[in-house]
């Protein structure tokens, strides 16, 4: 995998093995946020299986050469959910796991919102709505450079309130960016409340379809379904593909699940204990 143009990550994990990785990384997420005393657990836990499917089966990349020109690109547009991303990147070999404990600390490479100073991070983030435009730029560059890499952008559902998402959507279809895949982490919660209370998004599938995209839906935690959907998204491409991944915010920790209160707050000592017990 390293160096040349060999496709794939070299990972051949089975689904049960991926599920074990998910369990391990959920603990990393909780530990990372607890150590920092701040961060965004909800969206980190909801996105996790999506990232695991991408990084441990679907995408080709070289952690020893993060800038490898032929790599598939992943763009975390919902940059606050960086702890989930960092857990995956370190597990994939981009940087040592010990660095997770420096998250949000002075002089760290592991910033509060994902920033390209971290190996494996493509885009600076933290201001919602920008990632799909950036991903489209990466996708168009592949065409110019005659490369066959794919570009995956992960969007929050609250993030889809931003107009720029829909400007990017319209233009991606117009420019026929068939190597672009937008994945919406549809956990139905944003910063303050449930998306239905802040800004109703449904019917979300029709919105993407009407903007000229091929639309797929999947359970965002079921790795079999996710892998099948991501595989399908790579084939028979005539339009950009949107995958609506139905997820549970805070997935895996009972008191965080579907709880808007854990969008952007660290667990306290007692909650940390309880979460780690549940994830043991």
């Amino acid at each position: 995998m390293s160096g040349g143009s060999a496709p794939g990550t070299g990972h051949t994990y089975s689904v049960p093995e991926l599920q074990n990785i998910a369990k391990e990384l959920r603990r990393d997420i909780i530990q990372t946020i607890y150590t920092a005393g701040s961060g965004h657990p909800g969206g980190s836990l909801s996105e996790l299986e999506i990232l695991i499917a991408l990084y441990f089966r679907v995408m080709r990349y070289d952690p020893k050469n993060p800038g490898w020109p032929d790599r598939d690109r992943f763009v975390l547009s919902k940059g606050h959910a960086s702890p989930g991303f960092y857990a995956v990147l370190s597990r994939a070999g981009f940087f040592p796991r010990e660095e997770l404990s420096t998250y949000r600390q002075l002089n760290s490479r592991i910033q509060g919102h994902a920033h390209p100073m971290t190996p494996g991070v493509e885009m600076n983030s933290g201001s919602l709505g920008m990632g799909l435009s950036f991903a489209l730029g990466c996708a168009l560059a592949a065409r110019l450079d005659k490369k066959d890499y794919m570009v995956y952008a992960l969007l929050g559902d609250g993030e889809c309130d931003e107009g720029e998402i829909w400007e990017a959507a319209m233009s991606a279809a117009h420019h026929k960016a068939t190597n672009l895949v937008a994945i919406v982490d549809r956990n139905r919660i944003q910063n303050d409340r449930f998306t239905d209370d802040v800004m109703a998004l449904d019917p979300l599938d029709r919105k993407w379809r009407d903007f000229g995209w091929r639309v797929m839906e999947t359970d965002g935690h079921d790795l079999d379904q996710l892998l099948a959907t991501l595989e399908k998204a790579r084939t028979r491409r005539t339009r950009p593909t949107a995958i609506i991944a139905h997820t549970v915010k805070g997935k895996g920790v009972s008191f965080m699940e579907n709880n808007p209160g854990f969008h952007g707050r660290a667990p306290n000592a007692e909650e940390f204990q309880k979460a780690m017990e549940e994830l043991a």
């Binding site: 920092a36 005393g37 701040s38 961060g39 940059g79 998250y103 949000r104 600390q105 002075l106 002089n107 760290s108 910033q111 509060g112 919102h113 920033h115 600076n124 983030s125 933290g126 201001s127 919602l128 709505g129 609250g158 993030e159 309130d161 931003e162 107009g163 944003q190 910063n191 303050d192 802040v198 800004m199």
Partner: protein, 315 residues
């Protein structure tokens, strides 16, 4: 030696002040962008749901709708974090709000590096520069909660676009409860004739500490709280330059286009004297607010050093 001050949250004060104004300003409406708990407008949202609108994270729309409400006789208070409320909808603020001079109030929290752990994209270090470049805006950067209450009430009472800049972190209270805020008039917080420290926002408290340290070294520093950056109190700044012969500006903002630039314009055009700027030199990073203040040199020690340097440059 350095004063111990009570800490209080200006953003919480903002949310509470809005509630106080609900009856006296029947046209007041509040607009938010999915950060209402963080900016404390959830207090208003839950009490006056019919006078509240949430647009989610969609700041261009947020400002555009606010402009339409203002043009229809409402008094919109639009609130989110400073990076999202100033940067993202800048053109809407320029064309829809500033150019027609609408009665529109933008109150943003989480300004500057006091936002801490969220990191550089969340640090509003350019907001004063951007918003001061919009001709119609009145710009206020309160030093504490006491000043925030009066700044918010003043913004509601006065016609035209206002920007009020608040922090995420609780900040030291430097005013007594009987303090009277006067829009556009710098507040003389400490008299002195050797040097003047012109400060705004959280740096007012830091500068008062610096003045005490200077006193211990035999220097009397005047401290001016420039809460209104636009229109700025030119008279007070010119008088400070003339009477003390050296000036230091202190702000929790990038050194381009903020208080330091404004002070430089005023003294350069009227009464040139040595000026030292204490301000941010570039982007920062994720860390605790207090740690960032030290790393970025926004400390009493650094203000003191700047004052000594300004004094040493006197002719």
């Amino acid at each position: 030696m350095v004063a111990q001050r009570k800490m209080a949250s200006t953003r919480q004060t903002y949310g509470e002040t809005l509630l106080e104004m609900a009856d006296s300003f029947p046209d007041l409406v509040v607009l938010g962008g999915d950060l209402n708990v963080s900016v404390f407008t959830h207090l208003w949202r839950d009490k006056y749901p019919e006078r509240f609108f949430d647009f989610g994270p969609a700041e261009q729309n947020l400002v555009g709708v606010g402009a339409g409400l203002a043009a229809s006789g409402k008094v919109p208070f639009v609130s989110t974090f400073s990076v999202f409320g100033v940067g993202r909808p800048f053109d809407q603020l320029r064309v829809l709000v500033s150019q027609p001079g609408l009665n529109f109030k933008l109150v943003c929290t989480h300004a500057g590096i006091l936002t801490g752990e969220d990191g550089m994209s969340a640090h509003g270090i350019e907001d004063l520069s951007l918003i001061c470049s919009l001709p119609s805006f009145t710009v206020i950067s309160p030093a504490d909660t006491v000043e925030t209450v009066q700044a918010v009430k003043t913004a509601a009472s006065e016609d035209g676009p206002f920007y009020i800049r608040l922090s995420r972190a609780a900040t030291p209270v430097v005013h007594d409860d009987d303090y009277e805020f006067e829009l556009g008039k710098a507040e003389l917080m400490r008299e002195g004739e050797d040097v003047t420290i012109v400060a705004t926002g959280v740096m007012v408290s830091v500068s008062l500490d610096a003045a005490e340290m200077l006193e211990a070294q035999g220097l009397q520093a005047r401290v001016l709280n420039v809460h209104t950056l636009k229109p700025v109190d030119e008279e007070a700044i010119i008088a400070a330059a003339r009477e003390t012969g050296a000036v230091v500006s202190a702000e929790e903002h990038y050194f381009h286009g903020g208080l330091g630039s404004i002070v430089a314009q005023v003294i350069g055009g009227n009464h040139p004297v040595p000026l030292e700027m204490v301000a941010l030199q570039g982007y920062s990073e994720s860390a605790k607010a207090e740690e960032l203040m030290v790393k970025c040199g926004l400390t009493a020690e650094k203000v003191k050093e700047a004052a000594l340097k300004a004094v040493s440059r006197k002719q």
